[in-house]
């Protein structure tokens, strides 16, 4: 059976990863915007 600490890491990890994804998209958008490489 998966342990409690695994469940912790599993859920917090997924939420953190998703949040980082949103942040990464915003940073990439700004970089593309500045460099004029959006499309």
């Amino acid at each position: 059976m998966f342990s409690e600490s695994f469940l912790h890491i599993f859920i917090y990890g997924a939420l953190g990863w998703t949040a980082l994804g949103a942040l990464a998209l915003i940073v990439l958008l700004i970089v593309d915007w500045i460099r004029g490489t959006l499309w």
């Binding site: 998966f2 990464a24 499309w39």
Partner: protein, 479 residues
């Protein structure tokens, strides 16, 4: 089960959906001005950058199934259920390895059909068109049905009105803006989806005492925490192969591969896979909170919205909870419907109208022709969605069909010679046996069987009288 559970009135639902619809259509018209010719309309000028490219690939892959079915997987298959869903991201990660080769092989390519025609001739191309049309249409119709169902469940908007509304909005902005509009709106929609999922997940985590929750689940639902769960492990591989088949063959992904700048495309697909991977877990785990928080789930298919709404109500968010859920789900549906409308209409114009029927569609006629195809496709989807048939089953049954295209795509991209007839026989046999397995052995075996049979045939085709690909490594010309 509507207003009582989700605390959102019908008028609020209409206002939210209409405001979102007006926003998407306005943005579609604005971005659509960039589309000066057919290449601009269908492929956004072949110059899409990393941020928009990653977001559009990720948002297209987040459907209402992801946000709605992931909690159901968590509720029925536990930890492995969520992981099984996450493996669908591997399709995007692997496709990143193919994109460079696709762009080298087809520098002027427009659709996935160009590849199948080049590698497997007219017979293979026709077989691909049958499979992809069946799959794309059932995906589109099931999304439209899901949209109608959700607006009815969340805001009490009658099914036919809600389904028509979401379809009309997506048709309008795809019609005005082509792939520019689709990619632009996908970026905003992907941010809304990610932030919404993190916000709701954060509230659930804040309400949940992990020790108590773990004790509750291990006492009352121990199967959800089991490490060895054969059905869930089969689901992992089945979902992964279904994902491979969907991504490798469908024009939704190929059109993006052609739309992105060549150096950007592999990075964008890899990043989209990385961004997508945690979403089924972040959106699904809230189902595990239902038991410990004493939330009653009257309908398993509504697990996600019911738990999210209950937790937000506990946090004092009231009506805002229903609005937030509606916005996130609306975005996850629109981001897939628009992409499917655009990519499928490209296939209908390029492969069916111009390819099969040899119709001449010049630049002047293109926008009118594209408009007719997009609206026609929308009307067909509406007609199929209106009776509320269980089309989602057609989508799941198409799993082995698209699974049987995995190996032919890989072989066509990377091998220099093959016996085409054996490959095509493998696709047909894999599809047929996969559908048989779906009904006889269980849904979680169908894609495995389809991909397995086709793999054996493709490997045999490499060694039994292989013919060199006649046009290998030569650029394909536009029709």
């Amino acid at each position: 089960m509507t207003e009582d559970v989700f605390s959102i009135s019908r008028s609020t639902g209409w206002i939210v959906v209409i405001l979102l619809g007006v926003l998407w259509v306005a943005l579609g018209i604005f971005w659509g001005k960039r589309a000066k010719n057919s290449e601009g309309f269908m492929l956004a000028g072949r110059n899409v950058g990393l941020s928009l490219g990653s977001a559009t690939a990720m948002a297209t892959w987040v459907t209402s199934n992801t946000t709605m079915l992931a909690p159901v997987f968590a509720l029925t298959l536990g930890i492995w259920g969520m992981l099984a869903y996450s493996t669908a991201s591997f399709g995007l990660l692997l496709f990143a390895l193919f994109v460079g080769r696709i762009r080298t092989l087809l520098p002027a390519g427009v659709t996935a059909g160009d590849f199948f025609r080049l590698r497997y001739g007219r017979a293979g191309w026709s077989l691909f068109l049958i499979i992809t049309m069946l799959y794309s249409l059932s995906w589109l119709v099931s999304m439209a049905i899901a949209g109608g169902d959700l607006l009815e469940a969340l805001a009490g908007i009658p099914y036919l009105q809600g389904m028509s509304l979401i379809l009309v909005v997506c048709i309008l902005y795809t019609l005005f803006g082509g792939l520019y509009a689709v990619i632009g709106t996908d970026f905003i929609q992907s941010l809304i989806i990610l932030v919404g999922i993190v916000f709701i997940g954060g509230l659930v985590v804040a309400k949940l005492d992990f020790s108590t929750a773990y004790e509750h689940i291990s006492t009352y639902q121990p199967s959800l925490l089991k490490i060895a769960m054969p059905a869930a492990l089969l689901a992992v591989f089945n979902n992964m192969l279904f994902g491979f088949g969907e991504v490798f063959h469908n024009n939704v992904w190929w059109s993006r591969a052609f739309a992105m700048r060549k150096d950007v495309a592999p990075k964008a697909f890899f990043l989209s896979g990385l961004l997508w991977f945690p979403i089924p877990i972040a959106a699904g785990f809230i189902a595990l909170a239902a038991g410990p928080l004493g939330i009653n789930i009257p309908d398993e298919n509504q697990t996600g919205p019911v738990v999210a709404s209950a937790v937000m109500n506990m946090s004092g968010l009231g009506a805002a909870s229903g609005i937030l859920i509606l916005i996130v789900l609306f975005c996850s549906m629109a981001s897939s419907i628009d992409s499917l409308l655009a990519a499928t209409s490209d296939l209908l114009i390029e492969d069916v109208q111009k390819g099969l029927f040899k119709a001449k569609v010049n630049e002047e006629k293109f926008r009118r022709s594209a408009g007719i195809v997009i609206v026609g496709l929308g009307v067909l989807v509406w007609l199929l969605a209106a009776p509320h048939w269980p089309i989602i089953n057609a989508l799941f049954i198409s799993g082995p069909l698209v699974g049987s295209l995995i190996w032919p795509v890989i072989a066509g991209l990377f091998w220099r010679k093959i016996n085409r007839r054996i490959v095509l026989a493998g696709i047909i046999a894999g599809s047929a046996l996969g559908v048989w397995a779906y009904f006889s052995l269980g849904w979680f075996t169908a894609s495995l069987v389809g991909a397995g049979v086709s793999m054996v045939a493709t490997i045999l085709a490499r060694f039994i009288s292989p013919e060199t690909f006649r046009e290998a490594d030569l650029p394909v010309q536009n029709h």
